[in-house]
């Protein structure tokens, strides 16, 4: 955690700094490592590029995209969105708990985040299997190419997210580690997976 006044923060080792209500409200700081924010912004612009290419192709063949989109189950997409939002909530709770020195609560929330991430993973794989059983594969048509590409690249980010969560759990497991900065950095990555999915959901399942 870095504050705007430029006060240094330990990069390694124990970095337990309970944050008072006053400092939450009055001091500006970048949560986690600034490098992670650079990565988040890079990924955000990269995905915006993917979304724009999808939108261009969609507007050129709206009937095909709408017919194919109707093969997806909007309720499954909604369920997946709710699950990832819940995982983000527990991750945010983990950060707050760790900042306040409540490490058992932080660990519990980190494990809950993993659990919800796993539920999303299983749901996504079963949705892919369902679509493939119905005869809609990657090369079935343009919509399904985008569907598999966007959901698979997001899935890859989710898998990396489990490694990141593993680092967070490892940090929380011993008083000798517990770097608040690393925990916040992991949380920033996990929330990125969440907000990218929110846009993917609206483009693949909801829009017309």
């Amino acid at each position: 955690m870095m504050n705007a006044a430029g006060a240094g923060s330990p990069q390694h080792g124990v970095d337990v700094r309970p944050v008072s209500k006053h400092s939450e409200k009055s001091e500006a700081y970048v949560p986690g490592q600034p490098d992670m924010w650079a990565f988040v912004l890079f990924e955000s612009f990269l995905f915006t590029g993917y979304f724009l290419v999808y939108m261009v192709c969609r507007t050129q063949s709206p009937e095909l995209f709408l017919r194919s989109q109707a093969e997806l189950d909007l309720r499954i997409g909604t369920f997946n969105t709710l699950v990832l939002l819940t995982s983000s909530w527990t991750m945010a709770r983990c950060v707050k708990a760790a900042r306040e020195g409540s490490f058992p609560s932080a660990s519990t929330n980190a494990f809950l985040t993993m659990l919800f991430g796993f539920v999303f993973l299983v749901s996504k794989v079963s949705e892919w299997a369902q679509e493939i059983r119905k005869g809609f594969g990657f090369s079935s048509n343009e919509f399904f190419s985008f569907y598999y590409f966007l959901t698979a690249i997001h899935f890859l980010h989710l898998l990396i997210g489990f490694v990141v969560l593993g680092v967070v759990v490892h940090q929380l497991s011993s008083p000798a580690r517990r770097s608040q900065e690393l925990i916040e950095t992991g949380a920033t990555y996990w929330h990125t997976i969440d907000f990218l999915w929110v846009i993917i959901f609206s483009l693949l399942y909801v829009m017309r």
């Binding site: 700081y29 724009l52 939108m55 709206p62 969440d194 909801v206 017309r208």
Partner: protein, 100 residues
């Protein structure tokens, strides 16, 4: 975790879930199987998604406590994504190659 922060996160999570249910309702409007483009549903879907993204940035990712430059950068990305997606949608629908 202090009760104040915990309660705020709970309210944010409930709001995000409620907005997602609105998306479900919007996506189910006008018969999903009708296969007809609908600018109002598309604008609502993209608008709702980007409102959710901004809430995630500000509340879960704690951007509201971040230096103003990070707040502006994330807001700029949200705005750019909204304008570019909707712009491409409306321009693309107006100048469809297969529409003759």
């Amino acid at each position: 975790m202090s009760a104040g922060f915990g309660k705020r996160l709970l309210v944010v999570w409930l709001a995000l879930c409620a907005i997602t249910i609105v998306s479900l309702i919007v996506g189910s409007l006008e018969g999903r199987a009708a296969h007809v483009p609908n600018a109002a549903i598309t604008s609502s879907a993209i608008g709702i998604a980007l409102v959710k993204v901004r809430i995630i940035f500000r509340e879960f990712m704690e951007v509201r406590h971040a230096p103003v430059s990070l707040c502006r950068l994330t807001d700029a990305w949200v705005l750019l994504t909204a304008v570019s997606l909707l712009g491409v949608y409306f321009l693309g629908m107006a100048f469809r190659m297969d529409a003759g």
